[in-house]
């Protein structure tokens, strides 16, 4: 039983790394946003698994807050993507170099 929670937490760590790989390697901003979602999801799984491990529902509450913040982040992020698309007609993050020093 304990092993199952362990395996869940290790999976969550792997998901965080997979999301980071997507954020680092991809240049399509929609895919980058989706990779961010995978990372947030991994952290959420950690919270819920920790809740199970300690029989404490606080982890569920934190998971809800994280869900809300993620929803807000997606709304802003997608609005930015649409704005960038209107200006560049694509969303390759390598071409966003107007602020380049």
């Amino acid at each position: 039983m304990n092993d199952a929670v362990w395996a869940t937490m290790a999976t969550a760590g792997a998901l965080i790394a997979i999301g980071a790989l997507g954020v680092l390697a991809r240049r399509n901003m929609l895919i980058v946003l989706m990779s961010l979602e995978i990372m947030l999801n991994g952290v959420n799984i950690l919270f819920v698994a920790g809740s199970r491990l300690h029989a404490d529902p606080t982890g569920h509450v934190v998971a809800f807050f994280s869900l809300t913040v993620a929803a807000a982040e997606v709304a802003i992020g997608l609005a930015l993507v649409v704005t960038i698309f209107h200006r560049l007609t694509h969303t390759d993050s390598d071409d966003l170099n107007v602020l380049h020093g």
Binding site: A10, R52, L78
Partner: protein
């Protein structure tokens, strides 16, 4: 007991596979579909961890609302394929070792932090653990301020999205010309 481990293992393989599908997707719509499968599998995992309310919220908010928003944006942009320049860039070469390093660090930290609770068996849960009533009471009694602040955060996010979405030329028409 070991049935739990097998179920978690199957879901874990599915989660990693759909995650890899998302970050390697050439077509954005295909990536979105993989991400929906990813979120549904996560909800299954939550159900197995005695978190039914979080599982339902996961399906409704993530697999439902958020992914519909993604699909809507793809629709606005005309379902253009993920036109990334072919060939590996420098950033792509560095990304894989860095991500492997992060995986090692995170999984190591998680498993290392569990060594002191490893020996003990999992605590038995009360009947109503994770139910809407219990989580709702926790939310409304011990975390009321944070709950209210989340409402404020969502309001600010809505206002920001509306501002970004409306009149893109009003504040920076010349920047748009320069960028192109």
């Amino acid at each position: 007991m070991s049935g739990d481990l097998v179920a978690v293992g199957v879901i874990a393989i599915g989660l990693v596979a759909t995650g890899l599908l998302v970050i390697s997707a050439r077509d954005v719509v295909r990536g979105i579909l993989a991400l929906i499968a990813h979120f549904l599998l996560t909800a299954l995992l939550y159900a197995g961890l005695h978190a039914p309310l979080v599982a339902v919220a996961q399906i409704a908010v993530y697999a439902g609302a958020v992914m519909v928003l993604f699909l809507f944006v793809v629709m606005l942009m005309g379902a253009a394929p993920a036109s990334e320049a072919s060939g590996r860039s420098r950033q792509e070469r560095w990304a894989i070792p860095l991500a492997l390093l992060l995986a090692l660090a995170v999984v190591g930290a998680i498993l290392g932090s569990l060594t002191n609770v490893a020996a003990s068996a999992l605590p038995t849960l009360p009947e109503e653990f994770g139910s809407a009533v219990q989580v709702g009471m926790e939310l409304m009694q011990r975390h009321l301020l944070a709950f209210e602040l989340t409402g404020l955060l969502l309001l600010v996010a809505i206002l920001g999205a509306v501002h970004l979405g409306s009149a893109p030329d009003a504040d920076g028409a010349d920047e748009a010309g320069r960028a192109e």
